[in-house]
Symmetry: C2
Subunit: 192 residues, 2 copies
């Protein structure tokens, strides 16, 4: 399984943001929903072997984590507003216990941050995408893996992670997702 | 100069679309504005050596072409709504003659389709991104180049173009832009 974790250092964990001003009212959830598209969707299809986690560290209900599971995803559309609508509905839930609670269409929510999702990824190799790290093209990549990617602010150190980079330019998070996905596509056939 | 041409086979050339339902009312302009982001923006900056053309073949005023010039771009934000707002304002213009008419912040508009922008790119090598074509990683890339990329429907043949692909999976247009940009970044330093 291929997993991406996007850590939103300011992204709101509450549903109190405006769809009409996503970038201005959500602590930049727009960055994170663009990563969901890049990780899960290809031309006219959903990647069934991919899971995306969003870690939401901003706002009154933080930390919270969202999980988009390609195996169960339905009706996922690529535009920011559709994805933000799905996030907003999921964040409206208040009945959270421990671990992930399944919502609709393959989207789950948990109270907690990186810890709660790492419990979900036991046994997977952990990579952290960082500027200046060794090139992903030169690295061995495990098929069962978790790739951590920062938001517009950056990525805090991920304990136990192997650091990799995607090239000489500091890119938007969603472009890093696209480039990592392409590198994996070229080497490892999609698992079912 | 690095140039991207995104051909929107249904994308509207008029400003009569709703920002609140971009994907549903614009003939999928959402695909095209995501490509503008991927081509022109990196982390906290604008690529000054990149020009993006959008060819709009849908709606009552088609064909029209938009040009986003990284050298003159200002106040460009990465979210779909901001980019769509800029496109909407530009498409409201009616005083078009021949060739591109400069608008605000590095965005220009022209009446016409691929022909009008090719006149703008004289001397550049033309590449067309197509599934199943030779891998871009194995190709020589000219620094002065135009990369044609299709929308969600595909790309009509581009006369005189060298066909290239980005790997085994059929990807969203904006991901193709990101992967092509990364390949160029790794080989050719940014021109000023």
């Amino acid at each position: 399984m291929r997993r991406f974790v996007i850590v939103g250092q300011t992204a709101t964990a509450s549903d109190a943001f405006l769809l009409d001003d996503l970038a201005g009212t959500s602590g930049r959830l727009d960055v994170l929903v663009r990563c969901v598209r890049a990780a899960l969707l290809y031309s006219h299809g959903v990647r069934r072997d991919v899971i995306v986690y969003l870690v939401l560290l901003g706002g009154p209900r933080a930390p919270r984590a969202l999980r988009f599971d390609g195996r169960a995803a339905k009706f996922l559309r690529p535009d920011e507003r559709s994805l933000a609508t799905l996030v907003k509905k999921t964040l409206a839930r208040e009945d959270l216990g421990s671990g992930f609670v399944e919502g609709r269409h393959g989207v789950a929510i948990a109270s907690g941050g990186v810890d709660v999702l790492l419990a979900d990824c036991e046994g997977a190799t952990v990579y952290a995408m960082e500027e200046g790290a060794p090139d992903i093209r030169d690295a061995e990549l495990d098929a069962d893996a978790v790739y951590f990617i920062g938001d517009h602010i950056g990525l805090a150190p991920v304990p136990g992670a192997q650091s990799l980079s995607v090239g000489p330019v500091s890119l938007h998070s969603e472009d890093v997702v696209a480039i990592v996905s392409n590198e994996i596509d070229r080497r490892l056939p999609a698992s079912k």
